[in-house]
Symmetry: C2
Subunit: 271 residues, 2 copies
């Protein structure tokens, strides 16, 4: 059984998509075809959406699921007339919130995920630049201003995690790849010692590491199972020796790695 799911918004569609995808994970037995329709902000576009929903429902032999965060009342009304099963996120929650807060909602479209949405936006961009400038170690790195410094062997997931921490949470994350020298000395890198409280280690399953490295430099010492096993054992030894908190990223997504790091370090998100 296949069902088409439409995430519809008069803004970016990111909220509808995020909540919608979360809900769908609870129904593993069903195959969903997912379509995001952002910026449905005119009556014309809304009417086209109705047609698209009708066609999908007909093709599937089941009515489509509509998950929407449309704020504009007129457009919402048009969408309500569709043949799908609708989950109307704003209507459901805005009224109770209005009552609780004792004030009317502004019904302003596209406020979420906008620059105005929060004054912390420039912090996020600054954090992205920070992550790019402080990626991959080195003497010029600004560890002083880092919120956190990720350490681990090459390809253990440091860079994508730093970028996610910056983009999603506005956290300034530097990273330092542990070199062969660092591992052999069985010490924390000199540059990092005075920032020990900011360190967080990433580790991963050696065979997974080998297959990731294999894509980079096939059949090299770098990607050999033996080398990966050795590096992982050494780096975990260093984490334990110096009480650096660490996480095995093998089965975790960047979202999970990032969320767990912040939770473990007690750092609040700047969202």
């Amino acid at each position: 059984m296949k069902r088409t799911v439409f995430f519809i918004s008069d803004g970016t569609g990111i909220t509808a998509e995020t909540l919608g995808l979360s809900l769908l994970t609870q129904f593993e037995s069903i195959e969903f075809d997912r379509i995001t329709l952002p910026y449905i902000d005119t009556i014309e576009k809304a009417k086209q959406v109705l047609v698209q929903i009708g066609e999908a429902s007909k093709t599937d032999g089941h009515r489509s699921i509509i998950i929407d965060t449309v704020v504009n009342r007129e457009i919402r009304q048009i969408l309500r007339s569709c043949e799908g099963f609708t989950i109307d996120i704003f209507s459901t929650f805005v009224s109770p919130l209005e009552q609780e807060l004792g004030t009317e909602s502004s019904y302003s479209v596209g406020k979420s995920h906008s620059i105005e949405d929060n004054n912390r936006y420039p912090l996020r961009i600054a954090a992205v630049n920070f992550a790019l400038e402080n990626d991959d170690g080195g003497f010029n790195c600004d560890y002083e201003n880092a919120d956190i410094i990720l350490i681990g062997v090459s390809r253990s997931g440091k860079t994508p995690t730093c970028l996610y921490l910056a983009l999603q949470f506005g956290i300034k994350a530097a990273n330092y790849p542990m070199t062969d020298d660092d591992l052999e000395e069985f010490q924390l890198p000199k540059l990092l010692r005075e920032h020990k409280h900011k360190l967080f280690g990433l580790t991963t399953d050696p065979s997974r590491l080998a297959s990731i490295r294999q894509e980079r430099r096939p059949d090299s010492r770098y990607s050999s199972p033996h080398q990966c096993q050795l590096e992982v054992r050494e780096v975990e030894g260093i984490f334990r020796r110096f009480n650096v908190p660490f996480l095995d990223t093998t089965d975790l997504s960047i979202e999970e790695i990032s969320s767990r790091i912040l939770a473990a370090k007690g750092i609040q998100r700047r969202t």
Copy 2:
């Protein structure tokens, strides 16, 4: 009036946070103190949360707002006994969805934002690596495999947008900074001509550009208002001359820039 809002989850908390922040943007007159509590996955932790909610409500003189996506029933029940005003995202929508889909929800915790959540996860990581490797132009760039190529003058927002497109949507985005030579020749860069259909231009207000550049290289030719004005005029001229679709990013967030680019190019998100 200040109200404390808790985003609570037994997973990463990203869904609760995303939906919650969207809802709060509809109430501009109220000052919200936002606290995210991820991984509330034991009874012990849930009981600590109750205490924290009680304290916040007391300090504020108003009960707190709780926006949660807790899946575990036992933990949800504990949270229900709090003194706050609760928006229970899963309960609200899962039952109607169960009925519509004719199947029970799996009540599995932490599925969303996990690796298992979708088989497209490796695509996102590959896209992040692609963005990092194809940042800033050059002969070695893999324009062949790009879904999109962003062009614009230095500091017009290309790199953060490419990273967001990769991390959030799994889109392979390269970027190419238009050089002085490109601008003077009033041509599309040679390297990009055969990929014209993938090009998308970013532009920005010259005075905003000057202030961003000023932070990088203070009082340089690069950051002078005159130079910025010139570059922006030239690059927009090139976009128009060669019919490259483009967007003024001055008042837009990365989420908006990314969503608008994909909508304009008709590229579906790989979420």
